[in-house]
Symmetry: C2
Subunit: 127 residues, 2 copies
């Protein structure tokens, strides 16, 4: 059995727009932001949005977009489950896997500890 849920909303911008975009979304949502420590390409918005984190990500040359992060206590089982549903693995990073849904939209699967509060209310899967 493993669990998964939407764990983060990532608001992504090309590098040239990240400072302005972080200022805008911080003010728009009324949350301060701080640079990620382990991954400095992320600006983390203060607090949570329900169970979810809000982050602003520098995506280099990629145009602005929003993507969803699924948080899970078993990354490999979750990636396999999603691939069986029609997703495609695109890239592996330290702590998360990038996938595309069947229409080609990117999203990520991120591993968290089993006692992470984000998993309260998460869906539970047998495989």
């Amino acid at each position: 059995m493993h669990r998964s849920t939407i764990g983060a909303i990532s608001i992504d911008f090309p590098s040239r727009d990240v400072a302005a975009a972080t200022a805008f979304w911080s003010a728009a949502l009324g949350r301060s932001s701080r640079q990620g420590t382990r991954f400095p390409e992320f600006q983390v918005l203060e607090g949570r949005f329900g169970p979810m984190e809000g982050i602003v990500q520098d995506v280099g040359q990629t145009p602005p977009r929003v993507h969803l992060d699924l948080h899970t206590d078993d990354t490999e089982a979750e990636v396999a489950r999603l691939i069986a549903l029609g997703a495609r693995e695109v890239a592996r990073h330290d702590g998360w896997v990038v996938l595309e849904d069947p229409a080609g939209m990117p999203f990520c699967v991120c591993g968290v500890e089993g006692d992470d509060p984000v998993l309260e209310g998460a869906a539970a899967w047998d495989a």
Copy 2:
């Protein structure tokens, strides 16, 4: 004083992909879906994601994307606040306004009643 918060995550697909995308995201997130009654171009995912709704939207010819809906008890005040922060109004619909952030990413401001539970924990604005 008015309030606003992220109230919905909308997973948007071109018309040709909506049926497959609704099936994928419904299974990926473990939520059943139902067609919107007032707006049949939306498939509403069962339950909430924290305080937020999850919806799959048919966006015609537009490529796949995710967009955020800000829910507020004063649409005009919220749109004016966001335009003062650098957003741009793009279109008006019955119940919501489409904006672009300073980098050109679309999002919406949607009016809800002042007693809507989504506004619990929302940011409060004086103007």
